[in-house]
């Protein structure tokens, strides 16, 4: 009961142009934006990217706080990247001499460059997951990958697996909670002890959970067959993905972004 209200992933529902973009377009454009980020050679070429992401973020009506929250788990990596690059790269112009190490201009620039790249990559990806419901994302991925069916790539099956996984995660979490409580009532201790003790303590939780998951899978397969499921052949869809005008504008915007990035790289 306690866990049944989890919202899956980071999706933030809102009524914005970004939310309404075709998921296939969003996925492809994310890849394009990632390419743009990697194409940026110098700090100036990051400016168009930052502007683009800031504008998209405004357009998406997702609160800035939420967007920045995605960076929180990465703070250690970011700091580490920054420090490593700052102190351990070669450079000539010394800016600050700390005695045990010297901060050089080139290293500082490189450190900022790599860190910024990381931040922008995370922000761009967050924009996708914050504005696209998991199921819509799965849909988009399936359509994008479906041409690969010609070479026997199981695009439909993968999408089906992802949808079912998303559907069952809250259910399985609830069950795990219940099993944990039942074993605790029998004196099990999931909290104390060293790593090995705690790993062993997981057995009374994991075995029943797996048994239950397999049972569910069997039941579900039967229920799906009873509703005439027979793989991806001949299936129609409730929701049809169609590109609208806004999708073309988005593509144009990203094309413009890439052009700017390349230009800035050449200018400086």
């Amino acid at each position: 009961m306690a866990l049944s209200n989890i919202t899956l992933g980071q999706y933030y529902p809102a009524d914005s142009a970004v939310h309404k973009l075709d998921p296939r377009v969003k996925i492809v454009l994310l890849i394009a934006v990632i390419v743009a980020i990697f194409l940026a050679h110098n700090l100036l070429s990051f400016v168009p990217v930052i502007v683009f992401l800031a504008l998209s973020s405004r357009l998406s009506r997702v609160p800035l706080k939420l967007m920045l929250k995605g960076l929180k788990p990465l703070r250690f990596i970011l700091i580490l990247t920054f420090i490593l690059n700052l102190f351990f790269l070669q450079g000539e112009t010394v800016l600050l001499d700390l005695g045990f190490a010297a901060i050089k201009k080139e290293s500082l620039l490189t450190a900022v460059h790599y860190s910024l790249r990381l931040v922008l990559l995370v922000l761009a990806s967050s924009l996708l997951t914050l504005t696209t419901a998991p199921v819509t994302l799965t849909d988009g991925l399936e359509r994008l990958l479906s041409p690969l069916r010609a070479v026997h790539f199981p695009a439909h099956e993968l999408a089906m697996m992802m949808t079912i996984a998303l559907r069952f995660i809250p259910t399985l979490l609830e069950e795990a909670d219940k099993i944990m409580k039942a074993q605790t009532a029998r004196g099990a201790d999931f909290e104390s002890g060293n790593l090995i003790a705690r790993a062993k303590a997981m057995v009374p939780l994991l075995v029943p959970l797996f048994v239950s998951a397999f049972r569910r899978a069997g039941d579900l397969a039967m229920a799906m067959e009873a509703r005439c499921y027979h793989g991806g052949e001949g299936r129609t869809r409730l929701r049809v993905l169609k590109c609208e005008r806004r999708d073309y504008y988005a593509c144009a915007a990203v094309a413009l972004l890439i052009a700017c990035v390349v230009l800035c790289g050449k200018v400086y």
Binding site: R167, R216, D219, C228, R235
Partner: protein, 277 residues
């Protein structure tokens, strides 16, 4: 048997070659539009029987025909399952999508219904089970009874002629059981859908047109609910128990009280007792 939607002709089934038979020589005929209950304890073979009817299993001997089609013929499989839908016992393990509306669409997508037709069919199905208000909800937030009704809607949208309910209320609380049973009775009465209701709850079988009692893979009793429940003693070896009123009735009759046979509900009992006192 032209007016039977589903027929079983000397059907037997074993899960594996040398295993004992789960269903033994069952012959059964279900007329169009009726509400049949199959009663039996766990292990009596009733769930296996359910899956033989819609072709999830095929008989090791004998034949099952649905709307004239033999379940052993593979080319009939999908048509049979569309026309004889099935709702299972575990409310959770039938729902596949993350949103109710999309789950109801699942069956329609599988049988290739054109996209334009889907919203209408989905809506009608959800309205029929009283779950239209929950169309955008996530399944894990629903109660057991609500989940089962969504599962029923998922089958209804495919416009079946019959629905098999394999202990669909066994895991529900009394409220949920009432919701589901009354929705099903409505579907049978108002839309003429043939219902095969498999259960171990005696009180639910009271509503049926005909009751079949299964034990050890065979059908051991058949009749109207009144006929079957009148003899509470006869049901006992099958580890079933008649509804409380029927039990009381039989005990009182043994004491000489001239109650008529086949009393099932409290209302009937009160009337009969009032006549005698």
């Amino acid at each position: 048997m032209a007016d039977a939607i589903i027929t079983l002709d000397h059907v037997s089934f074993a899960y594996e070659e040398d295993a004992p038979q789960a269903v033994r020589d069952v012959t059964l005929s279900i007329p169009w539009g009726e509400f049949h209950a199959i009663l039996g304890r766990n292990g009596s073979g009733k769930s296996t029987l359910a899956k033989l009817i819609n072709g999830l299993y095929t008989p090791t001997s004998g034949a099952v025909c649905v709307c004239g089609m033999d379940t052993r013929d593979e080319k009939n499989t999908w048509e049979i399952r569309r026309r004889a839908g099935m709702v299972f016992q575990n409310p959770d393990n039938q729902l596949v999508a993350t949103v109710v509306r999309e789950d109801v669409a699942f069956g329609l997508e599988n049988i290739g219904v054109p996209t334009e037709e889907m919203p209408g069919r989905i809506e009608r199905a959800l309205v029929d089970v009283g779950m239209m208000a929950y169309a955008e909800r996530a399944p894990h937030l629903l109660s057991g009874g609500q989940k089962q009704r969504v599962a029923i809607a998922g089958v209804l949208a495919m416009e079946p002629e019959a629905i098999i309910f394999d202990e669909s209320t066994a895991m529900l609380d009394p409220q949920g059981r009432k919701e589901v049973l009354s929705a099903v009775k409505r579907l049978n009465r108002d839309k003429g859908i043939t219902v095969i209701w498999i259960t171990h709850f005696m009180e639910e079988a009271v509503a049926a047109d005909r009751v079949h009692v299964m034990h050890d893979g065979q059908i051991v009793m058949t009749g109207t609910p009144r006929e079957v429940f009148a003899d509470a003693d006869r049901l006992r070896p099958y580890r079933l128990d008649a509804p409380v009123t029927a039990r009381l009735c039989q005990r009182l009759r043994k004491e000489g009280m001239p109650l008529r046979e086949g009393i099932l509900t409290a209302e009937e009992m009160a009337e009969e007792v009032a006549k005698l006192c």
